[in-house]
Symmetry: C2
Subunit: 200 residues, 2 copies
C-alpha cells in the first residue's frame, strides 16, 4: 500500500532540505506528526513569516527585517571600517565574537566562473558606490579561505587599487585547538608566511 498522500507529500517536501535523505525525511515527518497541532502550526508559521519579513539590507545586503539593518543603523559603529564577506551567515559569525565594530558589506557569494557566477552577480558594483559615498578608510576582505574566496578577494582588491584606502585580508593560519600534525599543507604554508614577531 502507498503512503497516505498528505504523508507522502510531507516526506517529499522535507526530503528537499539540504542534508535530509529519504530516511531522515521520514523521521522528521513522524516527529512533526507526533507534535500538537498548535506546535506544528507555529512551526509552519515561523517558516512563512521569516520568508515574508526578511530581506537584504539595501545598504550592506545583510539579511534584516528593517531597512537599513540594525548594524548599518547603529550610530556606535565605526564607519571608517568596512568588512566584506560572502554571506549573511559570515556576518552572524563575526558578530558573535563581539570584537568587530565597523560596518559590513555582503557580496552574496563568491566568484565561481565555472558555475557561471561572475562579478555582475555579486554586490560588487554596490560596494564601489558605497566607497564613493561613505567615509570608509579600510576595507577588510573576509571572504572564505578557499579557492573561490581567494579569487573573489583578489578580484575586489584589484578593483580597489588606486583608491585612497587600506585594503586588508583576514589572516590565514592554524585554527585554535588545531593540530599542526593534521593541518593541510596550504594552511601550514600560510601560517608560516603570516608569522609575527613573538614577545617583541
Amino acid at each position: 500500500m502507498a503512503l497516505p498522500e498528505p504523508l507522502a507529500r510531507l516526506i517529499h517536501e522535507l526530503g528537499r532540505l539540504p542534508g535530509v535523505g529519504p530516511k531522515s525525511a521520514q523521521r522528521l515527518a513522524f516527529f512533526l506528526l507526533s507534535q500538537d497541532l498548535s506546535v506544528v502550526e507555529g512551526f509552519a508559521a515561523a517558516i512563512v513569516r521569516a520568508k515574508k519579513e526578511l530581506f537584504p539590507c539595501p545598504q550592506c545586503f545583510h539579511i534584516t527585517d528593517r531597512a537599513p539593518c540594525g548594524i548599518c543603523a547603529d550610530p556606535e559603529r565605526d564607519r571608517s571600517l568596512l568588512l566584506v564577506v560572502e554571506e549573511p551567515k559570515d556576518v552572524f559569525a563575526l558578530e558573535r565574537t563581539r570584537e568587530y565594530h565597523g560596518l559590513y558589506h555582503v557580496l552574496g557569494g563568491s566568484l565561481q566562473p565555472l558555475r557561471g557566477v561572475g562579478p555582475e552577480m555579486l554586490h560588487i558594483e554596490e560596494l564601489l558606490r558605497r566607497l564613493d559615498k561613505e567615509p570608509i578608510q579600510e576595507v577588510i576582505l573576509a571572504t572564505d579561505p578557499d579557492v573561490e574566496g581567494d579569487t573573489t578577494a583578489l578580484y575586489v582588491a584589484r578593483l580597489l587599487q588606486g583608491r585612497p584606502l587600506k585594503v586588508t585580508r583576514i589572516a590565514r593560519g592554524l585554527p585554535m585547538g588545531g593540530d599542526i600534525d593534521y593541518a593541510d599543507d596550504v594552511t601550514l604554508v600560510r601560517s608560516l608566511e603570516g608569522r609575527r614577531e613573538f614577545l617583541p
Copy 2:
C-alpha cells in the same frame, strides 16, 4: 548584534527537529530563505496539512487519511493473519517488501517500564478486542528486535496464551539492538519467512 527576530525564531523552531543542531538549523533556515515564497508556503502548508488530515486508523492504529485505513479496507487482504508492530513506520517498511498480505495492528510503541510506558499506554486492549471479533488465526509479533520489543512481544504472547491462535515471532535475521524501520527489504522478507511458533 542579535539575529533579526523572524530569523532567530525560524532557527529556534528548526533546531527542535530531531537530529538538527544549531549549525544545521541555521543552514536549513538560509536554505528556506533562498527559496521562492511560493515554495516556502507550499512547504509550510504540507506540514500543517499532514498534521490536520492524518490520524490513527480506528481499527489497526496505522496512520491514515481515511477510516478505516487502506489496508483494513482492502478486500484482497488475508484477514486470518495479523501482524503486530510498534509504529506506523514499521508498517510502511513491511509494505515495501510486497510480501505480506495480511492485516496489521500498531501498538503505538513498546513496553518501557523504566520510562513509565505500561501496557495500558499501548493498543493492547484493542488488540484483544480485535481477536475476539475478527477471524484471525495467526498473530505475528513483529516488534523491534531489542530489549523493549522482546519484552513487549513476550507480554502480548502471554496474554494470548490459551486462545485458539498460532502466535509467531519474526525470525532473528535482524541484529540485536536494531530497528525494524531501518532493515533492508531482503532481511525483512527472510525474517517473515523464518517466523517460529512463540511459547510453544
